[in-house]
Symmetry: C2
DNA sequence: TGACTCATGTCAGGAGTCTGACATACGCTT
DNA sequence: AAGCGTATGTCAGACTCCTGACATGAGTCA
């Protein structure tokens, strides 16, 4: 510990990452609130728009929550008529989920709101810097996930 | 596998930021769990080590939780003998919090564990890239915070 | 074919965090 | 000096998300 005391939070990438993520989440909640939508709710819809037929578990991984939490959300979204799931699994236990027309409309509004936040976040960053940020973030995530093993990607 | 086209999540800085943050949090929880410590718990201790005498509200802002949540945590930390707060406020209502020797020992173990995670996260990034990441993250956070309008003051 | 492994959906219980509300203490303006 | 707005600490209730556990269905291999 003799050398570790001078951990300046302002130069800790971990802290800054958390700070940025927190700021992004707050900003998203702020613009989503008027629409009566949570960040997880929006994430779920966005995921479904891009990859129709995803299962609850796949949606959960994509939105970074547990499959139990996602399942609870999906049940309410089904009641609200934003998504549909077959009563019985076509194959296995997997219930493919799809957006309804209503869900798509809800997503459209939310997507525009979220996009404005992202635009604001990127303000002041050049194209090259944005590309750098993408690459850096990917590198960090991959390093955190893979336990010291180089994993090839498609 | 079934990658569509349209809006690609893989090129959304917001999504990647959330993904990286999620991976970091998971990694931290994993190494902190054996110590019986949560991420917020660790953050609180780390903050106190660097800025002794912080109030509950200041700690809350630094750890990105509400002051109510931080207060609940501080009460349990007080019971556990990791921090101390005066019974009455020296000035105003602010109760300056400080680490005890026990708290410092707890932090030392946690800090080492977290440091290993951060080292892993930074693996594969050059000094320059790390500096870039810091700068980029700061820029995004600042752009997100100034949501109202020009009312910024460091 | 049968055992084993893995993934999924779901139920139940609990820990952590948030919103809302209230009293108190400080600084600034009038 | 008094009023007003802001910030803090705290209590209470509600909610979200998580951990743990169970049964079911698919894929793999002997």
């Amino acid at each position: 510990m003799s050398q570790g005391e001078g951990v300046d939070l302002e130069t800790s990438l971990g802290y800054l990452l958390k700070e940025a993520s927190s700021a992004l989440r707050s900003a998203m909640e702020e613009v989503l609130r008027p629409l009566g939508m949570s960040v997880t709710h929006y994430s779920c819809l966005e995921l479904l728009a891009q990859r129709p037929g995803l299962s609850s578990s796949e949606l959960a991984r994509g939105a970074f929550v547990t499959r139990q939490s996602m399942n609870t959300l999906l049940q309410s979204l089904e009641r609200g008529g934003e998504v549909t799931r077959p009563a019985r699994a076509p194959v296995g236990k997997v219930l493919p989920t799809r957006l309804t027309a209503h869900g798509r409309r809800r997503l459209a509004a939310a997507s525009a709101a979220v996009r404005s936040v992202e635009v604001r976040m990127l303000a002041g960053l050049s194209e090259d810097e944005q590309a750098d940020a993408l690459r850096l973030l990917r590198s960090m995530t991959q390093a955190l996930r893979g336990d010291g093993e180089a994993r090839e990607q498609g």
